[in-house]
Amino acid sequence: MSAQQCDLVSIGLVGQSNIDFTYDTFSKYLGGITQNGATKLRVTVDNSINSNPDCRWNLVIYVENGSGATPNTDWETLYSQSVSGPTPTIDLVQLRVGNRCNTPLQGNQFFTIPPVVSTPIVVISNTGITIPAGSCVTNVNGPGNPTTHYDEYTFDIDYRIVPGIGLKSGIYQLRFKYVLTEVL
């Protein structure tokens, strides 16, 4: 176990903490709904007090379905009267995580989230190497903040869901947890 490396890690959320996808037309079912920039994350990591050069961080997304009674592959059902069709699975959701320097590992493209809840989706990984702010390359993980390095420390999250036809009608919910952690 190592000692603390950074003085502060902080993640700010800009945007709605509840994002609604309502499917009420056939075209929405077939074409899906995309909500671009629905979530903006502002990452601040500071080491100005102890000036430790090993201050690094990682950013991971976890998807939870909020209920132990729900299969770990499914959305949590809030309401449904239907008996036909399967419950939607969590891998219906596509995410795109990006910023202007394209630092996320996913390459600024939509990707399907893992099919099982709590599987980590690593956006910025713990490589053991510090890539300092201002590098403007993949996996920048040194100290920095959106004020001084907006293009690396701000992340836009886009969401896309294409239900297709045949799923059980109802109201469903998922929780996305964005976790910023100091690397020890």
């Binding site: 950074c6 700010g12 509840n18 994002i19 996808f21 077939l30 036909s84 239900p163 109201i171 469903y172």
Partner: protein, 261 residues
């Protein structure tokens, strides 16, 4: 006293150690809610009124057929069933055509205005491919219209005798899907749309033909009960010598689409 001091020092050391190794972490949550509203769309292309005028002896003998008079196109996000049901206002009686006017004195002793709704025949161009759970003589209306000389109930429209709109049972006819919720294929059609299913022969597109054969005398030999086997022509229903009272009669057909449940 010395022991107490040592414990205190040890405790402070542990706290210091814990603080030194605490991993800094922060997190934010976003909740996503998905509302999948069921959509059942039945697009119907049809004249508001379909007239059958019998003013020629050949039309009485051979009947009148209206080919492709109604086109049904389905889009549904859930599994579904589709059926037709014959209805009337019941001014003659439940299960009979409404008589709007009669001509002259209405005919002699055997004349009756109690024309069964089931005298209307339907034919769907696409076979009901999702009805293996059906138990009746005819699962759908896909059989070709029978010859006039060989009356059969293969195409008689479903009638709820009580005229309250009760859906057909497993023993009756559906256009698509069927009674029950066993599974898609057995008694339900999977969600989908004519927009994406492609061919006009898909499970989401139906062309409906109509036929009425009065016969001569006009007893409507093609009228059969919902089971498809019990004759309801005027002689079977009212006895020998019965025939249709001349006049104008109306009824209507309801096409019902509903979630397979």
């Amino acid at each position: 006293m010395r022991t107490t001091r040592l414990l205190t020092v040890a405790g402070l050391a542990m706290l210091t150690s814990t603080a030194a190794f605490a991993q800094l972490k922060d997190e934010k949550d976003v909740t996503i809610t998905m509302d999948l509203q069921p959509i059942l769309q039945l697009n119907m292309s049809t004249p508001n009124q379909i007239d059958f005028t019998f003013d020629d002896i050949n039309e009485y003998y051979g009947g009148i057929t209206k080919y492709g008079a109604t086109i049904l196109k389905v889009s549904s996000t859930v599994n579904w069933d589709l059926y037709a049901i014959a209805r009337s206002n019941g001014n003659v009686g439940a299960g009979f055509w409404d008589q709007q006017i009669r001509y002259g004195t209405g005919g002699s002793g055997g004349a009756t205005n109690r024309l069964p709704l089931s005298l209307l025949e339907l034919r769907q161009t696409t076979v009901n491919a999702n009805a293996t759970a059906a138990t009746g003589a005819f699962a759908d209306y896909s059989t070709a219209f029978p010859a006039v000389a060989s009356p059969a109930g293969s195409n008689s429209i479903y009638v709820d005798p009580a005229n309250v709109g009760t859906p057909p049972s497993a023993a009756n006819k559906y256009i698509a899907g069927h009674a029950g919720t066993t599974a898609t294929g057995a008694d339900g059609v999977a969600g989908g749309s004519y927009l994406t299913a492609g061919a006009l022969t898909s499970d989401y597109y139906y062309s409906i033909d109509y036929r009425i054969v009065p016969g001569l005398p006009s007893i409507f030999p093609m009228a059969f009960a919902a089971d498809g086997t019990t004759a309801e022509d005027l002689v079977s229903a009212n006895g020998a010598g019965s025939y249709a009272q001349p006049g104008v009669y109306t009824m209507y057909v309801q096409y019902m689409i509903l979630e397979d449940q």
